[in-house]
Amino acid sequence: MSTSEEVYAASPLDPVETQRLVQETPADTSVFDELTEQRAREIIARYPVPRSALLPMLHLVQSVEGHVSQAGIAFCADLLDLTAAEVSAVATFYTMYKRRPCGEHLVSVCTNTLCAALGGDAIYAKLREHLGSDGKPLGHEETSGEPGAPGSITLEHAECLAACDLGPVLQVNYEFFDNQTPEKALELVKALQAGEKPNPTRGAPLTDFRQAELQLAGFFEGREADLDGPSAAPETVRGARIAAERGWTAPAMPDHAEFPPLPEKK
């Protein structure tokens, strides 16, 4: 069994020791029940080539464990006929795969330049301070409370979340809370800690991090009502609204636009 270069490069141990650990440490994959395995197989069936299923499968793994554990890596490797090292190299590349167990909720604050200039940095600082303990602010991707327990919260700063016109924004389990202030964000986090689930500005009623990960893996059964909510934020449609009010339109289309003739083969 070959082990990919990245793992050796990243390992502080000598290659022999690394190989021993990679190959011999048995991972107990029993947390992944039959349903999860069946879902993994459904994901694989979506693609012409099985390995394309890896990213959604890692989301699936997180829906069970709240992070990507060694067992999660082994589970994916087994089903895709990859080595644990190959899966590990992928899992560690992407920000959304967490190496440590997440809280009930993941709170992501955009601190990219535009949101930061509008208050994103202040929001993040406020939440770090509130969620910290012993006078120490909570760090990036750290969790306040027992991971997974009700009211536990993992905090992170995020890069631009493609909602700059609604900035500063934050997300809870990848649902948007738009136009935030430090005060509003603090109130939101306190509510989450108290077991409440305030509604996002756009999007579905909150569940928890694991349920969100299941949906990212492509499983939405019985959640049709989640689709509701506004088509777009009021800010998003400002241009369309001005046009409607002023009677501005694109030039009218001709009644029968013809296709060009079939180009001659060269």
Partner: protein
């Protein structure tokens, strides 16, 4: 005269439940598909060429030409991959489009797949936008149930499967070859080009990668024709474009206007600068496009106009900053972003962004020296054009343009340290 705003892609956004098939069909949805399936695929490619449509993902490559590069009759499967990774700082048009009107993208996907003879298409959407992914999935399901996807679409004999694929948080996966590696279940690192995706893309087969807004434009071109599309915009940059205005303006939002609209016009629509505080700097198309200033209010924002004025159109992500924002600080924040998102494959970008962040942080802390400015430019020079992919080039844009227009501000941060420079600091680096 064409109106100042020309809602085409955004015209359904105001309709109730605009994301449903029912609403879409009531508003001409899937009429272009019927028309396209009755035509020859090569006629559709030709029409796209005639329309002058250029990619909306940042680089502005002519779309019809890209489709024409796909070899036909080669016996290999062909693929269409939609780039919905929208991560360029400031960019916020594709996610709202897919949230409000996912069927317009799906209709564009079917027509494009038919044109390039692809039977499998993937929508690679960044993972952090759950509600958008939810609506895309539902729309794909509805399209299958209505016979717009699957086998023998509308009795045409054409088959197409579409999968919605959630990414996992990596800006570099927006780069088209990194995206393909990621879609194949690997680390998202760019590939060497050539071969280009048109010959060896997904699973080493001919592949078209296009942006969401590009493909969502296709049904309108089919229905309206190439000449209609060209009634908007300018000769070499035709069509309507969604301008995303964010930051210190009264009414940030999405404004769909003809290509070539200026910031002055956009600001007027967006209610002017917030609280009347004057404009200081802005990006025409995301943080990878060199900064503009108040001097550039009348630059026509299309591919040629932005380039002639020393920047790029990029993604028309117009981020507006007023006089309260420090340029070195903003540049530092963006550079931190590029450092975080550098995939690590090539040395100039991986090491360069690391050093740039160190220097900028030091300057913003007030510990820089005037020679740091030269060091910054020197490092930028070693990244620009020497990196493996365009992320590296993008990373230096805010720095070099920031220094070009606001050097005094960088110098002011370093002034207090200037007097030491000749003595201990210079000595320390000797």
């Amino acid at each position: 005269m064409v109106d100042q705003l020309t809602p085409v892609l955004t015209k359904r956004w105001l309709s109730p439940r605009s994301w449903t098939l029912k609403t879409y069909e009531q508003l001409e949805g899937y009429t272009a598909l019927r028309k396209a399936l009755a035509a020859h695929p090569d006629q559709i490619i030709q029409q796209c060429k005639d329309s002058g449509l250029r990619g909306r993902g940042g680089a502005g490559f002519p779309t019809g030409m890209k489709w024409g590069f796909i070899p036909q009759g080669d016996g290999k499967p062909h693929y269409l991959v939609i780039n919905a990774d929208e991560g360029e700082p400031g960019t916020c048009k594709d996610i709202p489009l897919m949230m409000a009107d996912p069927h317009s993208l799906i209709e564009g996907i079917i027509i494009t797949s038919y044109a390039i003879r692809a039977n499998f298409a993937a929508i690679y959407v960044r993972g952090e936008v759950l509600h958008c992914i939810r609506r895309l999935n539902a729309a794909v399901k509805e399209a299958y149930a209505a016979g717009y996807l699957g086998k023998d679409i509308l009795g045409s004999g054409f088959d197409l499967d579409v999968v919605v694929h959630a990414g996992a948080g990596a800006y570099i996966c927006g780069e088209e070859t990194a995206l393909l590696d990621s879609l194949e279940g690997r680390r998202g690192q760019p590939r060497l080009k050539p071969p280009f995706p048109a010959t060896a893309g997904l699973y080493a087969s001919p592949t078209v990668v296009n942006n969401v807004e590009t493909i969502a434009s296709v049904p309108y071109i089919v229905n309206g024709g190439a000449d209609w599309f060209r009634t908007m915009g300018r000769e070499r940059s035709p069509g309507p474009k969604i301008y995303s205005i964010s930051g210190h303006v009264e009414k940030p939002g999405q404004y769909e206007a003809p290509m070539g609209t200026t910031l002055r016009q956009l600001l007027e629509l967006a209610g002017g600068m917030k609280d009347g505080i004057p404009l200081k700097f802005w990006t025409p198309g995301g943080s990878s496009t060199p900064l503009f200033t108040a001097e550039h209010l009348d630059v026509p924002l299309d591919f040629e106009g932005a380039a002639e004025a020393g920047s790029m159109l990029g993604t028309t992500a117009v981020q507006v900053f007023n006089e309260t924002v420090s340029v070195p600080w903003a540049v530092m924040k963006w550079t931190e972003f590029y450092k975080h998102e550098s995939c690590g494959k090539c040395t100039p970008c991986r090491e360069g962004t690391y050093w740039l962040v160190q220097i900028l942080q030091r300057m913003v802390r007030g510990e820089g020296t005037p020679s740091d400015i030269d060091t910054l430019l020197d490092v930028c020079d070693n990244i620009l054009g020497r990196s493996f992919c365009a992320l590296g080039d993008g990373a230096v844009s805010p720095i070099t343009s920031g220094i070009k227009y606001f050097k005094d501000e960088f110098l002011a941060l370093c002034d207090q340290n200037a007097k030491y420079e000749a003595t201990e600091l210079a000595g320390a680096s000797a």
